[in-house]
């Protein structure tokens, strides 16, 4: 059985409030990927549609999108694993291609978060956790990650200032990304000024600046088998390794609070499948829904030893010119986090990097890239390793 490649990538511009319906939003990302791949809808054997439920009213969006994207009568699949839905969609596409069922599969991720208010959105996201035993206490995503942040600070001496450095890096690159929702600079001093919005409390010890921006957006990744990829694509990027893991939804069922076991396990699987280690990664996109999430990703993926993630950001090693550039597209923090579209957008960034087509944020000559995409509060973990 041959290799599996990514032959086209696309995404919409991530915006605060998209002036159109969800099918129109999905079309933007799809159209971008189709232009990139230079193929027609007849080349696509199946579609995989990815999002988290309950942000919009549409039941079973896959069927609606398949028609709107011109992908009838091909089969379509709906994949959901909260914020990692589109990475999970790529995992499904890989297996469909590998199994020989389809030569080319389009993975379309989307989320129109602006269909509901911010406090409704927090309630929806809180219900991505344990609705029977946790949500009745009034949980929300920032508070869960804040509990990890506090545990990390207690054990390793990480500080709110270390986390602020991660936000400053994200904003540095968000300004260069014309698809990002948040394109303004964020300075370290903003966090020191209690009157500044960035320093405002959300869920201690996390502040406004530690949290990613909600956004509306779509992404599309076109996956193909080796033969087809070589015939259709000038610069295929190969899927070298895939990892995926789950854990207890309720924090009471977990033992580790300074890292995400699903990321550690998915990372180990992906490294083993690709036959590479953390030191071989030239560029990475990690799931920085909160600054602490990026800090833990450094350690969970082996870019730093446990507790030493802060040194990586303090020394700017995760900047574009550093030893392991991370989230040089602005990350979820500045680029924005339209739940179901996020994994595809992260993969797009790494594919463009490996092709040498990343423009202002291009890292010097990367050969191997990694994507770390988490669903829920470390409930679902996906790691994807890509190579030229």
């Amino acid at each position: 059985m041959g290799k599996v490649a990514i032959i086209g990538v696309g995404q919409s511009t991530f915006v605060r409030s998209y002036p159109g319906s969800i099918r129109e939003l999905a079309f933007d990302g799809f159209k971008d990927a189709m232009a990139d791949a230079q193929i027609t809808t007849r080349d696509i054997g199946a579609s995989v549609i990815c999002s988290a439920p309950e942000y919009d009213k549409q039941r079973s969006p896959a069927g609606v999108f398949a028609e709107y994207l011109g992908l009838n009568p091909q089969p379509t699949f709906y994949v959901e694993s909260l914020c990692s839905s589109s990475s999970m969609g790529v995992r499904l596409a890989y297996s469909l291609v590998k199994a020989g069922l389809h030569d080319v599969v389009a993975v379309v991720g989307f989320q129109k978060m602006s269909e509901i208010s911010s406090s409704e959105s927090q309630e929806r996201m809180g219900r991505g956790a344990d609705i029977q035993w946790e949500s009745p206490f009034g949980t929300m995503m920032p508070a869960y990650y804040a509990m990890y942040a506090r545990a990390h600070m207690e054990k390793y001496g990480t500080t709110p200032d270390d986390l602020a450095l991660i936000r400053v890096k994200a904003a540095t690159y968000g300004q260069l990304n014309d698809r990002a929702v948040y394109r303004k600079p964020v300075t370290f001093d903003m966090f020191a000024d209690p009157a500044n919005r960035m320093a405002g409390p959300v869920a201690s010890p996390l502040r406004v600046g530690d949290c990613c921006a909600n956004a509306d957006g779509s992404s599309c990744i076109i996956v193909a088998g080796e033969e087809k990829a070589k015939a259709l694509c000038r610069k295929p990027v190969w899927i070298m390794g895939l990892g995926a893991a789950t854990t207890s939804v309720n924090l009471a069922g977990r033992d580790v609070f300074t890292g995400l076991t699903v990321a550690q396990q998915a990372g180990q699987q992906a490294y083993a499948m690709a036959g590479v280690g953390a030191g071989d990664i030239d560029v990475a996109e990690v799931h920085d829904c909160f600054t602490i999430a990026e800090m833990m990703a450094y350690e969970d993926l082996g870019f730093a030893k446990p507790g030493e993630g802060k040194e990586l950001i303090q020394s700017k090693e995760t900047y574009k010119e550093g030893s392991i550039p991370v989230n040089v597209d602005g990350g979820l923090l500045s680029k924005g986090h339209p739940i179901g579209a996020t994994g595809g957008s992260q993969i797009r960034t790494v594919v463009l990097q490996l092709r040498g087509e990343a423009g202002d944020i291009q890292v010097k000559d990367p050969a191997i890239g990694l994507v770390h995409n988490i669903g829920g509060v470390g409930l679902y973990g996906n790691v994807t390793i890509l190579g030229r």
Binding site: E123, P136, S204
Partner: protein, 144 residues
């Protein structure tokens, strides 16, 4: 005229807002009303569960007995919310937390009467039943 079907939806009393009303462990709410926080133990293999479960994933038995969460647990972590999801705004600010009892862990809220400066990761706390201002029930962590 058919007989009105009785629905056991006691669980809707759990939490500021409950998202579940019907569950096989509804007795949890009766215990809570009587001041007890209970988990379940599998009578077949002995595995202990908090939160309580009706089914054991280890031996697949549904032969469970209740046990009371007693003694103290160690505070693993917590977060104070200054912003709340819809339905919880009247409770702000409040702190969610996790206690480690050794054989099991308990996720819940810290008693709002406990001053912030007295909360320290690693401290021993106890779990107590609590009635919320809206008449709903939950449990909170207090200084041991």
């Amino acid at each position: 005229m058919g007989k009105v079907r009785e629905v056991d939806d006691r669980f809707k009393k759990f939490g500021t807002v409950s998202f579940t009303s019907i569950t096989k462990i509804n007795d949890f709410v009766d215990y809570l009303e009587n001041g007890k926080i209970n988990g379940t133990r599998c009578k077949t293999c002995g595995l202990v569960f908090f939160p309580p479960r009706a089914d054991c994933y280890q031996c697949l038995s549904d032969n469970m007995q209740w046990f009371e969460v007693s003694g103290t647990g160690k505070l693993i972590s917590y977060s104070k919310l200054e912003y709340a999801p819809i339905g919880f705004q009247d409770d702000v600010p409040y702190s969610i937390a996790l206690l480690d009892y050794g054989d099991y862990k308990v996720f819940g809220r810290i008693d709002r009467d406990l001053p912030d400066e007295d909360i320290k990761v690693g401290m021993q706390m106890k779990t107590a039943a609590n009635t919320l201002p809206n008449g709903q029930l939950n449990y909170v962590f207090q200084k041991a």
